[in-house]
Amino acid sequence: MEAVASMTRRVSPFLLAILMITFVLSLVSIYAGIEAYARNDYSDGSLYLTMGATTLIISTYLWLQTRKRILRFGMGMEPLNTTMECQKCGFKNVREFQRGDYIFKHTDEQCPKCNEKTMTIGSIFREVSEKEKAKEAGYG
């Protein structure tokens, strides 16, 4: 199961103005850097390009942060397995968990092997993937 919602927040016009100015200045700086490179002035060219690129990245990041964001919240869980065991012949059958199942519940289900109504729920558990286990361990 997954819930999705958008997170809106008020953005100050002052912040937007600063972002706009920074954005324009970064573009101007990049232009000046390219121009300096064209003049074979590598020292100034590198300085302007570095400053321009850095400012452009920061201003773009901040602008993206002000936008409406979609938050996803998952309550996903591995499927739960119920193991049915025949009390007479020991036959085991695994199926997905159903509402009303509980460990050691005597059911009316017939054993497919010995045809007796002796099926009992022996276990209910979920299996976590190896990937998830490795993530839990955090190392190795």
Binding site: M7, V28, A32, L80, F104, S123, R126, E127
Partner: protein
């Protein structure tokens, strides 16, 4: 006074207007960071808390929705239970006075009893068609939703307080513990579904061990929501105790153990308490550890009772725990925890062989929420 070209000369670059403007802007940014760095940091922290708060709100709303739908589905109420659920989600309990700690356990026990009766009655009113097991499961679902509401409201409080005062230290308090709080909230979120469907959870590991031991033996109900079976193990007589399942229940195992010891005039050679315990990072889920003491979590009333009676009759109390994460404790039971049961039973048998003689009486108590576990 310095002129613009003079200031610009302090920095590398070309001697033109564009260079000056850029240099001054970057110098300005440096100055702003020097004086307003902490404030900027506060804003960044507020933003981080805000994102988590939004997630908590989603969890809270989802929990509320699930509780209402479960009540409608199972309890078949004559009217819409939303108002009652909302009232339940605002429930609070005032802890007893601890300035004079004498007798606090009994006062706390009384309050817990009152709370339990109140919760059960409220759920019964909300879901009149639900049977005893379903009522317990619905109560657990509502409790998980209540916890999510409390977490959301506390974090919101600190967030708004931090925003109002712009105090780095107020917002920092929340921001520092936020990962742990989010982990706990996520655990309660996953618990909601387990409680709603009556699935066994990780916390029931102790109860599952006891259920395995008492299976096929006659059980008698003692104390509130607790069952006991007399089981022969390794030539000794074991009183196996667990909360009555399969509804979501922890019962009063402390009171049950106390009664058994008193009924036997203290002639109990060994008491073994089995419970799920929080694992440290790096430890494996389902790891088994042995120790001494009363392994009963919760509000400590049961733990206190067992300690008191064990001291009175000098009964040695041993503990066996199954390690698991806080998230695993309230989410559907993992295979590793289920598989640990066999190992725990082996350890119980070994402890009994090593520390008691044939014909002795022992107590084996499986602690934890017995949701989804029969007996």
């Amino acid at each position: 006074m310095l002129t613009l070209p003079q200031v610009a000369q302090l920095l590398p670059g070309q001697d033109n207007i564009l260079s000056w403007v850029l240099q001054i802007v970057f110098l300005g940014i440096f100055v702003v960071f020097m004086f307003y760095g902490q404030r900027i940091q506060t804003y960044i922290m507020i933003r981080e808390v805000e994102t988590s708060l939004f997630k908590l709100k989603m969890m809270r709303d989802e929990g509320r929705k699930m509780a209402i739908s479960a009540i409608n589905e199972i309890g078949k109420p004559p009217a819409d239970p939303t108002v009652q659920v909302d009232r339940f989600l605002e429930y609070f309990a005032i802890t007893p006075v601890d300035l004079d700690p004498a007798g606090i356990i009994w006062r706390l026990e009384h309050l817990l009893d009152v709370q339990d009766v109140r919760f059960k009655n409220d759920v019964k009113l909300m879901a009149p068609q639900a049977d005893e097991t379903q009522l317990n499961n619905l109560e657990n679902t509502l409790e998980a939703a209540l916890m999510l509401n409390i977490i959301y409201k506390v974090i919101r409080h600190f967030y708004l307080l931090g925003k109002k005062t712009l105090s780095l230290y107020i917002i920092m308090q929340v921001q520092l513990i936020l990962p742990l709080i989010m982990k706990e909230a996520e655990a309660f979120s996953s618990a909601l579904k387990a409680f709603q469907l009556g699935q066994p959870i990780g916390d029931g590991a102790g109860a599952l061990v006891a259920a395995n031991l008492m299976r096929n033996y006659e059980k008698t109900k003692v104390e509130k929501d607790v069952v006991v079976a007399t089981v022969p193990i390794e030539g000794r007589i074991a009183y196996v105790v667990k909360a009555e399942g399969p509804g979501g229940n922890v019962g009063k195992p402390g009171e049950a153990i106390k009664q058994i010891i008193e009924q036997n005039q203290g002639k109990i050679s060994l008491a073994i308490v089995i419970d799920a315990a929080a694992k440290l990072e790096g430890e494996k889920t389902g790891e088994i550890a042995e120790g001494i003491g009363v392994a009963i979590g919760g509000p400590q009333v049961d733990k206190y009772k067992v300690e008191e009676i064990a001291l009175k009759y000098k009964v040695p109390v041993n503990a066996i725990v199954i390690k698991e994460d806080v998230g695993d404790a309230v989410s559907p039971m993992r295979k590793e925890i289920f598989d640990a049961v066999e190992g725990v039973i082996e350890r119980i048998k070994r402890l009994i062989r090593e520390r008691t003689r044939e014909g002795d009486f022992v107590i084996i108590a499986g602690i934890g929420n017995t949701i989804g576990i029969g007996q």
